[in-house]
Symmetry: C2
Subunit: 321 residues, 2 copies
């Protein structure tokens, strides 16, 4: 068994190799540039851990992990175009550096190359892997579309927001684990529980992310606090506040959403606290985390095999704040 950290190091070492042809350089330099910016490689390592929960890591799992990481980077390149984001991980985004058209093509070709990696695995697992990968890829696109739709709406229900988060973020985490499980030879019951573990963990992580953006310590969190509030992003927190605030709080919140004043973040946070949004978010996160734990408990393997996954789940969720 390997820890998350050990697998991250080994995956990063293997992933650090050319994935694209040399020609035309005008296209592939953009892909090489973006992959060179790094990343936490959480999803591919989840695939490896999903495999190792049931069996020694099979060579196929490395191929699928590579495909997953390429897919994830494809979504980032295209999302950055849609968001007109100038920077990612502290560096210029692909469209900023190479133009929108090349960024669009660089993303397209990265998705195609992801499928080329999938197609390297043994025939026995090819169909179920491509099935799950494609379904997930489709869902991630759907989640991104919902996210853009919600930006234009004045209200979004918690259920709608949850569905969006599930599609945009959680299903890829869940599917990464399950693809690993399939390669590890897991049966349907076990691999479905692992999928649900990943999905609920992903939702808990997103609630935490929303929470930390508002209430986190900027020094520990590494981002300026209140970014979501400044951009009027419909996070779990804002959606809940808009539903629980009193009449006068509602009025003030709507006025703040339409303003750009310097104390906007501070005043929105005060309303959040007055509505107990912080406590509510901590509880909601815990609920999803508990669901995740329930599903991993249901998996019929020796509990010692679950240790690395439980460790990384605790690490991702129990961040210091």
């Amino acid at each position: 068994m390997h820890s998350f950290k050990e697998l991250t190091i080994e995956f990063s070492r293997r992933f650090n190799t050319p994935h694209f042809p040399k020609y035309p350089e005008s296209l592939y330099a953009a892909n090489d540039y973006f992959l060179g910016l790094g990343g936490k490689r959480i999803r591919p390592v989840m695939c490896l851990m999903g495999n190792e929960l049931f069996n020694d890591i099979h060579e196929d799992a490395w191929q699928v992990a590579t495909a997953i990481e390429l897919f994830h980077n494809f979504t980032l390149i295209h999302d950055d175009i849609m968001d007109a984001a100038p920077r990612r991980r502290g560096f210029e985004t692909v469209h900023q550096k190479y133009g929108a058209s090349t960024a669009l093509l660089a993303g397209d070709v990265m998705l195609v190359v992801a499928y080329e990696y999938l197609n390297k695995i043994s025939s026995s697992h090819l169909k179920p892997i491509i099935n799950l990968f494609s379904k997930t890829a489709r869902e991630v696109c759907e989640g991104q579309q919902l996210d853009m739709d919600f930006e234009k709406l004045s209200t979004v229900s918690p259920g709608e927001y949850l569905k969006m988060i599930e599609l945009k973020t959680s299903v890829l985490l869940a599917a990464s684990l399950k693809m690993g499980a399939i390669i590890g030879g897991a049966g349907d019951g076990n691999s479905d529980h692992l999928y649900e573990f990943g999905k609920n963990l992903g939702i808990a992580f997103q609630i935490q992310d929303d929470y930390l953006d508002a209430f986190g310590d900027p020094e520990k969190f590494g981002k300026t606090a209140g970014g979501d509030i400044r951009q009027n992003k419909k996070t779990f927190l804002l959606i809940h506040a808009l539903r629980t605030a009193t009449g006068s709080q509602q009025q003030e919140l709507h006025a703040l959403l339409n303003s750009d004043s310097n104390d906007k973040v501070e005043r929105v946070l005060k309303i959040f606290r007055d509505c107990n949004v912080d406590e509510w978010a901590r509880q909601l996160k815990q609920q999803y985390f508990d669901k995740a734990l329930f599903h991993i408990e249901e998996i019929a393997v020796l509990s010692s095999r679950k240790k690395p996954l439980l460790e990384i789940a605790e690490f991702l969720i129990q961040r210091d704040y």
Copy 2:
């Protein structure tokens, strides 16, 4: 055996069915809209003909044909974004109607769904089909990038232009035929010859397309003549003219490329004719067409089976002008 026309009718009938989920409607309406605009469906029918050259059409060929047509439409949606084209087939382009972000995602998801159709075929052919499909998809992206690169260059060699055309246009025609051949049970030799037939036919077709845009009868051709000339597109004709024109013709040609005068098309065409570009293009087209015919002759099946493919090749190339 079926004619191109018969297969087109049957493919169009089968293709005219929902290919996407209903939700989120904001995403999938864009895909349904674009597919509803129609198209000649040449590539999927080539796949069916490639199958029928060797064997009765297998159910798998319809799945692959569907994947090919979805892939082709994905490239059109994304190309239209890159070209900022307002109209396609007489209707609004997807980005014009639904916005660039939705068009980008609609294209992405269409590519994913293309792979979902591929993944429906029997396991025995899955790997070689996904291999060829993915390689071709990558090449089409490379061709589009080269096309954009060339727009910014002052000169492009005939060899470079040929490579671009091959990637952007011909390989998909070639691969469509070959994927059909694989499903029809053809051996490597036969299916490679069929690929070369399609590739050379595609190049001949592109030379003809360039020719007709300049010299074609607008009434028969259905486009305004001289569109490429007005846009300074580096077609086979312009590239050849720039290399064979005399000193004074060169000077005039470069001046015209930098001008927007009303008689631009007329004057460029005069230089083309003075340089015998029209005759040269007709000969070049014939050379590639002959190469295509050579390769289809080399395929070891009864010549009666080749009849529908030869008919459509003649039809595509020997257009009336």
